[in-house]
Symmetry: C2
Subunit: 247 residues, 2 copies
DNA sequence: CGTTTGATTGACACGAGTCAACACCAGTGG
DNA sequence: CCACTGGTGTTGACTCGTGTCAATCAAACG
């Protein structure tokens, strides 16, 4: 049914019926978090890991002077805070942008998986490496592209990621973020984000209105952004084959 | 002896004698790579994973227009390309900055570890999460700090990381990179890197001369850079305890 | 030695930030 | 039903940080 985590991990590695069963059974404590709330905050160290079932969230950090940086967008299937299980405490926060359905996974369940379901554990490692690849791409995006291209690249990425989880229809998708959120993501001021969005609009590429992004020219947008989806490592089933072949 | 990988992973998780033995035995094919060469290149898909035993390397990417971005510095104990084992092909390159001693680990060895040494596998996952944390920090660094602070922050990070692997003596360490490398790391032009280094010099914080960084005022540098080492997650032994306690 | 690569500095251009005014809703309460 | 409010989006004028171009210098190298 709605085991978005299984679907995500199964894209990376062949998972057995037992693997699927364990992923079905560990997802406990579903709850609804309203928009604009923290799912987990900087410094927290709870005994559960959080998984987005539905909705839109972001990783962010507040700097000493009050500035905020958004370092990732989380969509259905993404785990918020594996850190909690493996590291001491959160070094950043995860907050909702829209209302989110969130599930919780206990430490004990994760420990069980790490011992008894190596393929699942490997899939989590792969997911972590893909997250790294995305962060590297954002780094080059912010470091080396101008404002309009940065935003175009970001929107292209969201388009592709949301397509995979079936949240795009007719070239449009919900994007419940403000221009100020975009600014904190792209390392820009909100005023300049506004100007850049106007450029994308005038170029006939996209319009962002009332939390909905309409893409008028998908290929044009990707070309404008120099977007190359390789880094998202979609459809990496090869890794699973390799695990088996190598033994 | 020089099993830097074991030392690194043992900082995260309790490793057994068997774990140590496997880590000693999988490291094959040591070789020397001269400075300025690729250890592994974008698009490669070899059958071995590379580990830095000694020296200084970087992850980088060349964009279509020829621009380069450096997304990470690799020091002894760092694995270059777990991606090779788990994902299809490299989406970036790893090149040496100084001469490097590099070891190779076969896919079969990694597959063996994933099945039979869950604690080692977990330690690799933790290392991956720490790498993510570093990338997030770089993102806020480039996105929200001015040129001089960016560079100061980068140097502070290198200081701490190199201290851990014993490469710092008397507040100085080898830094075999050009100002142009720094520029591609910080998202700046090399001219502006030069100007920013002059500021740090004039402030009495650091001098970078002949590939050697001399830090004159460690606390001053960290304060200037607003450097908070939490994100490096040094000394995270807790994770290992937690793994055991959770079961 | 000449040659090359990297460091340094100045003059100028330009992209992005800041400040400020105003428009546009969505929600609230009278 | 309307006035009020606060958050968000939009636009212009001006400032400032960083990029670009170019000349010079220093060090490394064959």
């Amino acid at each position: 049914m709605d085991n978005v985590l299984f679907e995500k991990l199964a894209r990376f590695v062949d998972l057995s019926a037992a693997d699927k069963h364990i992923l079905d059974s560990i997802v406990e404590g579903r709850r609804i978090v309203p928009p604009g709330r923290d799912i987990i905050a900087d410094g927290d160290n709870p005994d559960r890991v959080h998984l987005i079932l539905d909705g839109f969230a972001c990783r962010y950090r507040i700097m000493p002077d009050g500035q905020r940086t958004i370092t990732a967008y989380l969509i259905p299937g993404d785990i918020c805070d594996l850190h909690v299980f493996l590291l001491n405490a959160m070094d950043h926060s995860v907050g909702t942008l829209s209302e989110c359905r969130v599930a919780e996974i206990s430490r004990a369940s994760l420990a069980h998986i790490s011992k008894n379901h190596p393929n699942v554990w490997t899939a989590l490692l792969i997911a972590s490496l893909v997250d790294q690849a995305v962060l590297r791409e954002w780094l080059t995006n912010i470091g080396r592209r101008n404002a309009a291209k940065r935003i175009a690249h970001l929107l292209s990425e969201l388009l592709v990621r949301l397509e995979v989880v079936g949240r795009v229809a007719g070239g449009a998708f919900d994007l419940p973020i403000t221009q100020s959120d975009l600014a904190d993501t792209a390392g820009l001021s909100s005023v300049h984000v506004n100007r850049s969005l106007k450029i994308l609009r005038d170029e006939g590429l996209v319009t962002l209105h009332r939390n909905r992004l309409m893409i008028h020219d998908v290929e044009g947008l990707k070309a404008f952004a120099e977007f190359d989806p390789r880094y998202l490592h979609l459809l990496e089933r090869i890794a699973g084959d390799r695990l088996r072949a190598a033994i």
